[in-house]
């Protein structure tokens, strides 16, 4: 009996403590549970790799377009192509002369990406594909410089460092808009909703479904990468 009482007292006490904190209503009350520990600067250094368009997180270092070209041909060209044109279904980095209003336009760095810093961030965190986070910051600057050069955003003799990267303005930066949805308002019609029903397209005729041996290759097929 006494032991059960003490268990009850103990549990009740612990519960009351937690409830008191919750009831205090302070969403960010001082560490109420004591779980986890402070992270060290050394630990953070290895993982805090993100770079923002305002320069937050941009590390020291530098690399030239010329250095970047050699690194790019060695580590990037096998997928992205010698000139960034993209091989097979690997992503193209350049868009050529196409416009974004074209049907099925190419979306390269120069004509689509809003910020050059994103290129640095992405190469540093995820490239080369299959050997991520293997490059020095100087190498990342150099490859970033070369890809920007392929997109006519940097001259052939340029050297890229943090301040220079922040000065680069890409042409599509002002063309991103907030989400306007819901942008389509459909009626909840129940009866006699249409005069005529006509077929627009049939999957059977495209014949690109896996296992469909008729297999026409359609260049308009969407891509994910």
């Amino acid at each position: 009996m006494s032991s059960s009482n003490s268990v009850r007292r103990y549990c009740g006490g612990a519960l009351a403590g937690v409830l008191a904190l919750a009831a205090a209503g302070a969403a960010f009350a001082p560490a109420p549970l004591g779980l986890g520990r402070l992270v060290t600067k050394e630990e953070l250094k290895g993982w805090d790799i993100d770079v923002r368009p305002d320069g937050h997180g941009l590390p020291p270092g530098r690399g030239s377009v010329k250095e970047g070209e050699a690194l790019y041909q060695e580590r990037c060209a096998s997928c992205h192509g010698e000139f960034g044109e993209g091989k097979d279904r690997w992503p193209a980095l350049i868009a050529g002369s196409g416009k974004l209003t074209d049907d099925d336009p190419k979306r390269g760095v120069g004509n689509y990406w809003p910020y050059a810093t994103t290129l640095f961030d992405y190469i540093k965190r995820a490239m080369p594909f299959g050997n991520a986070q293997s490059m020095s910051d100087n190498e990342v600057y150099a490859i970033t410089a070369y890809v920007l050069h392929l997109n006519d955003a940097l001259k052939a003799d340029a050297v890229l460092d943090g301040p220079a990267l922040l000065k680069i303005k890409l042409s599509n930066a002002g063309n991103f808009t907030p989400d306007p949805r819901p942008d389509v308002k459909s009626p909840l019609c129940m009866k006699d909703c249409k005069d005529k029903v006509e077929i627009h397209s049939e999957a059977r005729k495209i014949a690109v479904t896996p296992g469909d041996e008729r297999g026409k290759k359609d260049e308009k097929k969407p891509r994910m990468d």
Binding site: F28, P178, E202
Partner: protein, 435 residues
């Protein structure tokens, strides 16, 4: 007659019945002539070709089966081996940055079996030792902290049933009907019971500074997948999940820890979660600039299109599941919305001319798959079958023609339009689009 959504479902059903689409017993009758089946003829047929059926005694009735523990971790019957995730090889350059689709047509309840949950990896499945895994929370917080999985499992926990959907679900169909399986045109959605820690609970440990408006979520995979999340969502219903359908999250779904942002683009529910950084502005990562932005006909792009709008699918009949002769069937499907609960689902068999309300099955959770059904009798005539969802914001699922009119065909993401199944006279079903 545009229906008023304040009219009770029963009145709507009555109105539809008067319009001749529903039989007296609430059946959707495909045309006239609800013929009685020739039962005696069928009985004569039944005994001839099944050597395991009565009057024969099959082996499984005579001999012992495997004992308990024969399969310490069970698997579906070998007779179900065709119910699997599938890929479309031409879609991507490599399987490591690609997608597999849930066999949604064959899913029998609102929970997607964990092994059938659709996959979208950006650099393959990270193979993580949970003892070594860490979550770092830093930036504009009061205390920059690091947590082990044991720490995270000690926090007060919660469980929710929520769908996760890739915003590219249906993305191959902007220009027209293209793929001949329900799985490929709506299979980038799955639904699970997720267990973990509400993010706001964990953030009590770190505190969040007053000026913090955004959170960067980063994965430990070889894409170090990153998305910027507005602080409102982080403090609303975001969760740090380690459980899926009663067991640890599957490696394909982010073992040992993933973020869950209910109702939002699946890729934002970052898998293999290793880091949360708080800041005063978004990061504009590759996955929210170059990708997962929606290109409009005027050449501008929508950015931060987070929520998944109401959607639905007819799973039977469907290209994978044709009709087998005239007679009674129960039409089935799913509906879901990233903005709340499914309020109603209507079904048409004449290409959207006339609609009948389907029955929604319990349980109906917000931001979860909701099952629906509608009994019908098929008279063998071709049908154009469609379903249409409305969520509790009042939003009605649009047609592809309505979406194309506003968004063109280059936006890849957020195609939540109604699908149309063309049921042919022989019962086979094809994916088509209507003008």
């Amino acid at each position: 007659m545009p229906a008023d959504d304040r009219v009770p479902a029963r009145s709507r059903a009555d109105a539809a019945a008067k319009a001749g689409r529903l039989g007296r017993r609430g059946f959707l009758a495909a045309g006239a002539g609800v013929a009685a089946a020739a039962l005696s003829g069928r009985a004569a047929q039944a005994t001839t070709d099944n050597k395991y059926g009565p009057p024969h005694i099959p082996d499984w009735t005579k001999t012992l089966g495997p004992g308990v523990g024969d399969k310490p971790y069970g698997a579906p019957s070998p007779h179900e081996k065709q119910i699997i995730r599938r890929t479309v090889d031409w879609l991507t350059a490599t399987k490591e940055s690609s997608v597999s689709f849930t066999p949604i047509a064959e899913q029998l309840g609102i929970i997607t079996p964990s092994g059938l949950h659709f996959e979208r990896h950006h650099a393959g499945i990270a193979d993580i030792d949970p003892k070594a895994h860490r979550l770092v929370v830093h930036g504009m917080v009061e205390r920059e902290m690091i947590f082990t999985m044991d720490d995270i499992r000690r926090f007060p926990s919660a469980s929710v049933v929520r769908f996760i959907e890739c915003p590219a679900n249906g993305g191959m169909e902007w220009r027209g009907a293209q793929l001949e399986r329900c799985q490929y045109v709506r299979g980038m959605v799955s639904c699970s019971e997720w267990t973990g820690v509400p993010l706001r609970t964990l953030l009590r440990e770190t505190g969040v500074k007053a000026g913090a408006k955004w959170m960067l979520a980063e994965g430990a995979d070889a894409a170090a997948m990153t998305r910027s999340v507005p602080i409102q969502k982080a403090l609303d219903d975001a969760m740090l999940c380690y459980g899926q359908n009663g067991e640890a999250i599957r490696p394909e779904q982010g073992y040992p820890l993933r973020l869950l942002l209910p109702g939002w683009e699946g890729n934002m529910s970052v898998k293999w979660l290793r880091r949360l950084e708080f800041g005063d502005q978004p990061w504009h990562t590759r996955e929210e600039t170059s990708k997962y932005t929606d290109l409009m006909p005027d050449g501008r792009s929508r950015q931060f299109t987070w929520f998944m709008e109401a959607n639905s699918v007819v799973t039977f009949p469907s290209p994978e599941r044709p009709l087998d002769g005239k007679g009674f069937y129960e039409m089935t499907g799913f509906a879901w919305s990233g903005l709340g609960r499914v309020r109603r689902v209507d079904v048409s068999i004449d290409g959207g001319r006339n609609w009948s309300p389907a029955r929604l099955h319990d349980p109906i959770y917000a931001k979860a798959l909701t099952r629906w059904s509608l009994p019908f009798r098929w008279n063998g005539e071709p049908l154009l079958v469609m379903s249409r969802a409305q969520d509790d914001t009042g939003y009605v699922q649009p047609s592809i023609a309505e979406l194309r009119k506003v968004r063109g065909v280059n936006s890849i993401y957020h195609n939540n339009s109604m699908l149309t199944w063309h049921v042919k006279a022989g019962g086979e079903v094809e994916n088509v689009q209507l003008k």
